[in-house]
């Protein structure tokens, strides 16, 4: 057993080793990087980065790249390699991804070695790749250098379906370590369209957490909500962009017992004039939410839950807007540009800033980026009371039916005891005397027992005699007439089969029998 356990553990470790590290640091070994290696800038940078990453993930792969990328054991090995002629960022990224790396860190100067020119073709390819679906997240750290050489850039990339938690942990780890050591700041460049703009509530009866008023089903709901847009960007501002409302099906979600009659949502004004990084818009927007009447779902489970589980619910409506931001309307904030941006290579060299940082928003965004803004709104809705009364009425009905069946069975049993015959007694002159068949089968006429019904036969009582037909016992048929002499008088009995359970004896039958 122990051997099996050990074997399994070894197998797990072997698989983990075979899977390879999830994170990699790609270090530029092109000719333009020479001064950074000479002055141990790359060493300091890679040490800081590797320490931060190893604190999170343990195993980190290291690559050197110029025209091609190759895996190395560490910086010592990179420093033994010859400098390359160009910087093919996209090829280096491809190589790391092919090796199964999910989080890629790249240290580069973004410059090809031919003095005075950037590797435009490959850089375009690289940025095209970053914009594509292959890469899920992009964060750029511009690293300012002392005057005399241009600033560097560190890219932190998460490949599609990569380990997002690891990426965020590594990012936070590096950011906290770099602060105070390096002159840098995190610039989140992708995604630009998701989780980047939110809603800040100014005035409303509803908000994402709770509802200040309770709405009744069956009554129309119309709310004017005043909001501001709030940027989650650190350094990017948005200007002059149109807002659209995303049309959705009128629904609070599948778990809700209520649904709105309609879902007309409008926002005014329809433009974001300026939204600074981390700021809220100065403009207050009015969102007009018209849901019509709220209705309870008319299926059995909903009616049951509305009656017996809860009396109200917090129904959630998703407010959804799209801000259409043209490429040119994404801008880095002036303070950031002042700190890190150099307009020319010479200026970058002179100031230690990074060349063409201002182009990043344009390079990283599409012609028009649709920034999604969604926020839930909670409406507390009280269910109607009719399902409760409906169920109670139904229970009462079921109880009545059960009671009815019980009484019916009891009566049927009683009827079975007295047979299925009724009798009507008359004198020969046709005067009605009443009469009936008792539970025990006795045939009563006024207070006299004239005979008894035994199954389908009439048998005269002691002291009584059948006159017509002249037989001792009469086989009964429906409408059969039997003339009986009793107490020195002739009584004509007319037998009828019972038509219903409600047939009862005549009052005469309830009179106690006369003593003979």
């Amino acid at each position: 057993m122990d051997l099996l356990k050990r074997g399994l553990i070894l197998l797990v470790f072997a698989l983990a080793a075979w899977a390879g590290p999830k994170s990699a640091v790609l270090i530029d070994r092109s000719g333009s990087m020479k001064p950074y290696y000479r002055d141990h800038v790359v060493r300091q940078l890679s040490d800081t980065l590797l320490e931060a990453l190893r604190a999170q993930t343990g195993d980190v792969a290291v690559y050197a790249f110029s025209e091609r990328a190759q895996r190395v054991k560490g910086l010592e090995e990179i420093e033994q390699l010859p400098f390359g002629d160009s910087t093919l960022l996209d090829k280096a990224l491809d190589r790391a991804v092919q090796d199964g790396v999910e989080v890629v860190w790249m240290i580069t100067d973004n410059i090809q070695d031919a003095p005075g020119s950037t590797d435009v073709g490959d850089t375009e390819q690289f940025y095209k790749k970053l914009r594509s679906d292959e890469v899920e997240k992009v964060t750029i750290f511009p690293l300012r250098q002392p005057a005399g050489r241009p600033g560097l850039v560190i890219y932190a990339l998460l490949k599609k379906d990569g380990d997002n938690d690891l990426y965020e942990r590594e990012l936070a780890g590096f950011h906290s370590r770099a602060q105070g050591i390096l002159r840098t700041d995190a610039l989140r460049m992708k995604p630009l369209d998701r989780d980047t703009v939110g809603i800040s509530w100014v005035r409303a009866n509803v908000n994402p957490r709770t509802s200040l008023i309770t709405y009744d089903t069956g009554k129309p709901v119309r709310e004017i909500i005043e909001v501001k847009f709030k940027s989650k960007f650190d350094h990017i501002e948005i200007t002059d962009s149109a807002i659209d409302v995303v049309k959705r099906e009128a629904s609070f979600g599948k778990d809700s017992l209520v649904y709105p009659e309609k879902q007309n949502i409008d926002i005014s004004p329809r433009t974001v004039e300026r939204l600074g990084p981390g700021d809220e818009t100065e403009q207050v927007y009015k969102i007009d939410v018209d849901l019509g009447k709220l209705k309870l779902r008319n299926d059995l489970p909903s009616l049951w839950k509305a009656a017996w589980v809860k009396s109200s619910e917090d129904a959630t409506l998703q407010l959804s807007f799209v801000i259409h931001v043209p490429q040119k309307n994404f801008r880095l904030r002036p303070k950031f540009l002042l700190e890190f941006h150099a307009a020319t290579l010479q200026e970058a060299k002179d100031t230690g800033k990074v060349y063409a940082v201002d182009r990043l928003p344009g390079l990283m965004s599409e012609a028009v980026t649709d920034v999604q803004v969604t926020s839930p709104v909670v409406f507390r809705v009280r269910y109607p009371s009719y399902p409760t009364f409906l169920w109670l009425a139904m229970f009462a009905l079921v109880a009545l039916v059960i009671l009815g069946i019980f009484v019916g069975v009891k009566r049927t049993a009683a009827m079975a005891m007295r047979g299925s015959w009724d009798v009507e007694a008359k004198t020969q002159a046709g005067v009605t005397l009443g009469g009936g068949v008792e539970k025990n089968g006795n045939v009563m006429v006024q207070r006299d027992i004239v005979g008894r019904v035994e199954q389908d036969d009439f048998v005269p009582a002691a002291g009584a005699r059948i006159v017509q037909p002249p037989v001792a016992n009469v086989r009964l048929t429906d409408g059969q007439e039997v003339t009986v002499e009793v107490s020195r008088r002739l009584v004509v009995l007319k037998f009828k089969t019972k038509r219903s359970a409600a047939a009862t004896t005549t009052p005469a039958a309830t009179i106690p029998p006369r003593r003979r």
Binding site: K305, A306, A307, W308, V309, K310, S311, S312, E313, Y383, S385, P387, T388, W391, L392
Partner: protein, 158 residues
């Protein structure tokens, strides 16, 4: 003499039942007053429980009240108390228990209004009807005791 002995036997039982029911109603009234005026979050039944459950509590309570009222009526009749007086006293106690269950089932921000109205009516019924069985002094004593307990409870919990 045996008949008088019977009357003596049933009276403490009626007083005890009346005290318990009155205290229960006062307690529920205090709770609803605290919810209404002191923003208390105490709820014997969760606020958003289905109306059906509340109705069920009330209906079961009504059944229990009827059964208990009938039982008390029988005890009082057996205790040689006149039938009309027994019936009135049993009815008053039945209503006390019914109000307890109604208060429990429908306790909320505004329930103190109808609870107060019904409690005042029941106090009047107590003084006019129940007091004939338990005596006016006992009735007033129990009512004052319960009211004092309510006042103390209100200040303790607020």
């Amino acid at each position: 003499m045996p008949a008088q002995q019977g009357v003596k036997d049933v009276k403490p039982l009626v007083v005890a039942v009346f005290t318990v029911f009155c205290l229960a109603n006062i307690f529920l009234l205090v709770i609803s007053l605290l919810i209404a005026f002191k923003n208390s979050k105490f709820q014997p039944i969760p606020e958003d429980v289905g109306l059906g459950i509340r109705m069920l509590i009330f209906l079961v309570g009504a059944g229990l009240s009827w059964a208990l009222g009938r039982w008390l009526y029988m005890r009082m009749v057996e205790g040689q108390i006149k039938v009309p007086e027994s019936a009135t006293a049993a009815l008053v106690l039945l209503f006390y228990l019914l109000l307890t269950f109604a208060g429990l089932a429908f306790l909320g921000g505004f329930s103190w209004i109808w609870q107060t109205v019904f409690l005042i009516l029941l106090v009047l019924m107590t003084l006019l009807g129940l007091s004939r069985v338990i005596g006016m002094r006992s009735a007033i004593f129990v009512l004052v005791l319960c009211l004092l307990a309510g006042v103390v409870l209100f200040f303790m919990l607020s």
